[in-house]
Protein backbone atom coordinates (compact mmCIF):
# COMPACT_ATOMS: atom_id res chain seq x y z
CA UNK A 1 0.00 0.00 0.00
CA UNK A 2 1.70 3.24 -1.11
CA UNK A 3 1.89 6.21 1.26
CA UNK A 4 1.55 8.69 -1.58
CA UNK A 5 -1.90 8.92 -3.15
CA UNK A 6 -2.12 8.36 -6.90
CA UNK A 7 -3.10 11.97 -7.34
CA UNK A 8 -0.13 13.32 -5.38
CA UNK A 9 2.23 10.92 -7.15
CA UNK A 10 0.99 12.09 -10.56
CA UNK A 11 1.31 15.74 -9.57
CA UNK A 12 4.85 15.28 -8.22
CA UNK A 13 5.93 13.24 -11.26
CA UNK A 14 4.93 16.14 -13.48
CA UNK A 15 6.55 18.80 -11.28
CA UNK A 16 9.79 16.81 -11.08
CA UNK A 17 9.82 16.37 -14.86
CA UNK A 18 9.39 20.13 -15.30
CA UNK A 19 11.66 21.49 -12.59
CA UNK A 20 14.51 19.11 -11.79
CA UNK A 21 17.89 20.08 -13.22
CA UNK A 22 20.76 18.13 -11.64
CA UNK A 23 20.34 14.63 -10.20
CA UNK A 24 19.42 14.40 -6.53
CA UNK A 25 20.32 11.58 -4.17
CA UNK A 26 18.19 10.85 -1.14
CA UNK A 27 20.75 9.20 1.12
CA UNK A 28 18.83 7.49 3.87
CA UNK A 29 19.96 5.82 7.08
CA UNK A 30 17.71 3.30 8.73
CA UNK A 31 17.60 0.18 10.86
CA UNK A 32 15.01 -2.50 11.39
CA UNK A 33 14.61 -2.32 15.17
CA UNK A 34 14.24 0.36 17.84
CA UNK A 35 13.27 2.98 15.30
CA UNK A 36 9.69 4.17 15.33
CA UNK A 37 9.33 5.58 11.83
CA UNK A 38 12.29 4.13 9.91
CA UNK A 39 10.11 1.81 7.85
CA UNK A 40 7.68 4.55 6.80
CA UNK A 41 10.49 7.03 6.13
CA UNK A 42 12.23 4.49 3.88
CA UNK A 43 8.97 3.94 2.05
CA UNK A 44 8.54 7.70 1.48
CA UNK A 45 12.10 7.95 0.17
CA UNK A 46 11.62 5.03 -2.22
CA UNK A 47 8.24 6.28 -3.46
CA UNK A 48 9.59 9.80 -4.11
CA UNK A 49 12.65 8.41 -5.91
CA UNK A 50 10.36 6.32 -8.13
CA UNK A 51 8.74 9.51 -9.43
CA UNK A 52 11.77 10.78 -11.34
CA UNK A 53 14.81 9.37 -13.11
CA UNK A 54 16.75 12.28 -11.61
CA UNK A 55 16.09 11.15 -8.02
CA UNK A 56 17.88 8.14 -6.53
CA UNK A 57 17.28 6.48 -3.20
CA UNK A 58 20.38 5.22 -1.42
CA UNK A 59 19.44 3.27 1.67
CA UNK A 60 22.06 2.48 4.29
CA UNK A 61 21.94 0.65 7.56
CA UNK A 62 22.83 2.99 10.42
CA UNK A 63 24.73 0.23 12.27
CA UNK A 64 26.40 -1.85 9.57
CA UNK A 65 27.13 1.17 7.33
CA UNK A 66 28.52 3.24 10.21
CA UNK A 67 31.31 4.60 7.96
CA UNK A 68 28.74 6.07 5.58
CA UNK A 69 26.78 7.55 8.46
CA UNK A 70 29.97 9.19 9.66
CA UNK A 71 30.72 10.48 6.17
CA UNK A 72 27.33 12.21 6.10
CA UNK A 73 27.53 13.34 9.72
CA UNK A 74 24.40 11.37 10.59
CA UNK A 75 24.04 10.65 14.31
CA UNK A 76 20.40 9.56 14.62
CA UNK A 77 17.74 7.80 12.56
CA UNK A 78 15.69 7.86 10.47
CA UNK A 79 17.88 10.32 8.56
CA UNK A 80 17.72 11.62 5.01
CA UNK A 81 20.51 13.63 3.39
CA UNK A 82 19.31 15.54 0.33
CA UNK A 83 22.38 15.65 -1.90
CA UNK A 84 22.77 17.33 -5.28
CA UNK A 85 25.87 18.11 -7.32
CA UNK A 86 27.39 18.73 -3.90
CA UNK A 87 26.36 17.92 -0.37
CA UNK A 88 24.84 21.20 0.83
CA UNK A 89 24.47 19.92 4.39
CA UNK A 90 20.71 19.36 4.35
CA UNK A 91 19.42 16.64 6.67
CA UNK A 92 15.99 15.44 7.74
CA UNK A 93 15.84 13.57 11.03
CA UNK A 94 12.57 11.78 11.69
CA UNK A 95 9.71 11.12 9.35
CA UNK A 96 9.07 13.87 6.77
CA UNK A 97 5.29 13.75 6.95
CA UNK A 98 2.66 16.47 6.90
CA UNK A 99 4.16 19.87 6.24
CA UNK A 100 7.68 18.45 6.39
CA UNK A 101 6.93 16.39 3.32
CA UNK A 102 6.47 19.69 1.48
CA UNK A 103 9.81 20.88 2.90
CA UNK A 104 11.48 17.73 1.61
CA UNK A 105 10.04 18.21 -1.88
CA UNK A 106 11.03 21.90 -1.91
CA UNK A 107 14.54 20.98 -0.81
CA UNK A 108 14.76 18.46 -3.66
CA UNK A 109 13.90 21.26 -6.12
CA UNK A 110 16.41 23.69 -4.58
CA UNK A 111 19.21 21.13 -4.40
CA UNK A 112 18.53 20.01 -7.97
CA UNK A 113 18.70 23.59 -9.23
CA UNK A 114 21.63 24.40 -6.96
CA UNK A 115 19.97 27.69 -5.95
CA UNK A 116 17.58 28.98 -3.31
CA UNK A 117 14.93 31.70 -3.28
CA UNK A 118 16.69 33.62 -0.50
CA UNK A 119 17.02 37.39 -0.91
CA UNK A 120 20.17 39.20 -2.04
CA UNK A 121 20.36 40.79 1.42
CA UNK A 122 20.50 37.32 2.99
CA UNK A 123 23.17 36.11 0.56
CA UNK A 124 25.23 39.19 1.32
CA UNK A 125 24.86 38.69 5.07
CA UNK A 126 25.97 35.07 4.78
CA UNK A 127 29.16 36.15 3.00
CA UNK A 128 30.31 37.54 6.36
CA UNK A 129 30.46 34.05 7.83
CA UNK A 130 33.89 32.82 8.78
CA UNK A 131 32.97 29.95 11.06
CA UNK A 132 30.56 27.01 10.74
CA UNK A 133 26.90 27.30 11.69
CA UNK A 134 24.68 24.36 12.57
CA UNK A 135 20.95 25.09 12.24
CA UNK A 136 18.46 22.69 13.80
CA UNK A 137 14.79 23.31 13.16
CA UNK A 138 12.52 21.38 15.50
CA UNK A 139 9.13 20.47 14.09
CA UNK A 140 6.25 18.12 14.74
CA UNK A 141 4.24 16.30 12.09
CA UNK A 142 1.05 18.18 11.32
Amino acid sequence: MPLLSEKDAAYLREEFAKNLVHPVRLVMFTQTFACQYCKETEQIVREVADLSDKITAEIYNFVTDADKAKEYGVDKIPAIAVVGERDYGIRFYGIPSGYEFTSLIEDIFDVSRGTTSLSDATRKALEQLTEPVHIQVFVTPT
Binding site: G89, F92, G94, L126, V133, H134, I135, Q136, F138, V139
Partner: protein
Protein backbone atom coordinates in the same frame (compact mmCIF):
# COMPACT_ATOMS: atom_id res chain seq x y z
CA UNK B 1 22.91 25.95 0.38
CA UNK B 2 24.04 29.58 0.07
CA UNK B 3 27.02 29.01 2.35
CA UNK B 4 29.35 26.06 2.63
CA UNK B 5 29.75 26.90 6.29
CA UNK B 6 26.11 26.19 7.11
CA UNK B 7 24.49 22.83 7.65
CA UNK B 8 20.78 22.59 8.37
CA UNK B 9 18.77 19.82 10.01
CA UNK B 10 15.09 19.25 10.33
CA UNK B 11 14.49 17.39 13.58
CA UNK B 12 11.15 15.78 14.33
CA UNK B 13 10.70 16.65 18.01
CA UNK B 14 8.48 13.70 19.00
CA UNK B 15 10.92 11.09 17.66
CA UNK B 16 13.88 12.70 19.40
CA UNK B 17 12.53 13.73 22.82
CA UNK B 18 16.01 13.92 24.35
CA UNK B 19 16.93 16.67 21.87
CA UNK B 20 13.58 18.43 22.27
CA UNK B 21 14.29 18.40 26.00
CA UNK B 22 17.86 19.53 25.66
CA UNK B 23 16.86 22.54 23.57
CA UNK B 24 13.69 23.32 25.57
CA UNK B 25 11.34 22.81 22.67
CA UNK B 26 7.90 23.78 24.01
CA UNK B 27 6.42 24.88 20.72
CA UNK B 28 7.32 24.37 17.09
CA UNK B 29 8.94 25.41 14.94
CA UNK B 30 11.90 26.16 17.19
CA UNK B 31 15.24 26.84 15.56
CA UNK B 32 18.54 26.33 17.34
CA UNK B 33 21.67 27.97 15.92
CA UNK B 34 24.99 26.48 17.07
CA UNK B 35 23.51 25.18 20.35
CA UNK B 36 23.40 28.68 21.79
CA UNK B 37 20.88 30.90 20.01
CA UNK B 38 17.18 30.02 19.77
CA UNK B 39 14.27 31.37 17.81
CA UNK B 40 10.67 30.37 18.35
CA UNK B 41 8.18 30.42 15.48
CA UNK B 42 8.40 30.94 11.75
CA UNK B 43 10.05 34.36 11.57
CA UNK B 44 10.73 36.58 8.55
CA UNK B 45 13.96 35.88 6.67
CA UNK B 46 15.85 38.98 7.96
CA UNK B 47 15.22 37.93 11.59
CA UNK B 48 16.30 34.38 10.85
CA UNK B 49 19.56 35.65 9.33
CA UNK B 50 20.07 38.01 12.28
CA UNK B 51 19.78 35.08 14.73
CA UNK B 52 22.30 33.16 12.65
CA UNK B 53 24.72 36.10 12.80
CA UNK B 54 24.07 36.34 16.54
CA UNK B 55 25.16 32.71 16.90
CA UNK B 56 28.57 33.54 15.42
CA UNK B 57 28.93 36.75 17.41
CA UNK B 58 28.44 39.12 14.48
CA UNK B 59 25.30 40.63 16.00
CA UNK B 60 24.32 41.12 19.63
CA UNK B 61 21.08 39.81 21.13
CA UNK B 62 20.01 43.44 21.63
CA UNK B 63 20.55 44.25 17.97
CA UNK B 64 18.43 41.27 16.96
CA UNK B 65 15.69 42.16 19.47
CA UNK B 66 15.63 45.67 18.01
CA UNK B 67 14.63 44.21 14.65
CA UNK B 68 11.38 42.99 16.19
CA UNK B 69 10.45 46.54 17.12
CA UNK B 70 11.30 48.01 13.75
CA UNK B 71 8.43 48.17 11.26
CA UNK B 72 9.14 45.92 8.27
CA UNK B 73 10.92 47.76 5.49
CA UNK B 74 9.62 47.52 1.99
CA UNK B 75 11.77 45.45 -0.29
CA UNK B 76 13.58 43.72 2.55
Amino acid sequence: MESDLIRADMVEAIEFPHLANKYHVMGVPRTVFNETVHQEGAVPEPIFVARLLQAVGKMSAEEVEALFRKPPQSGS
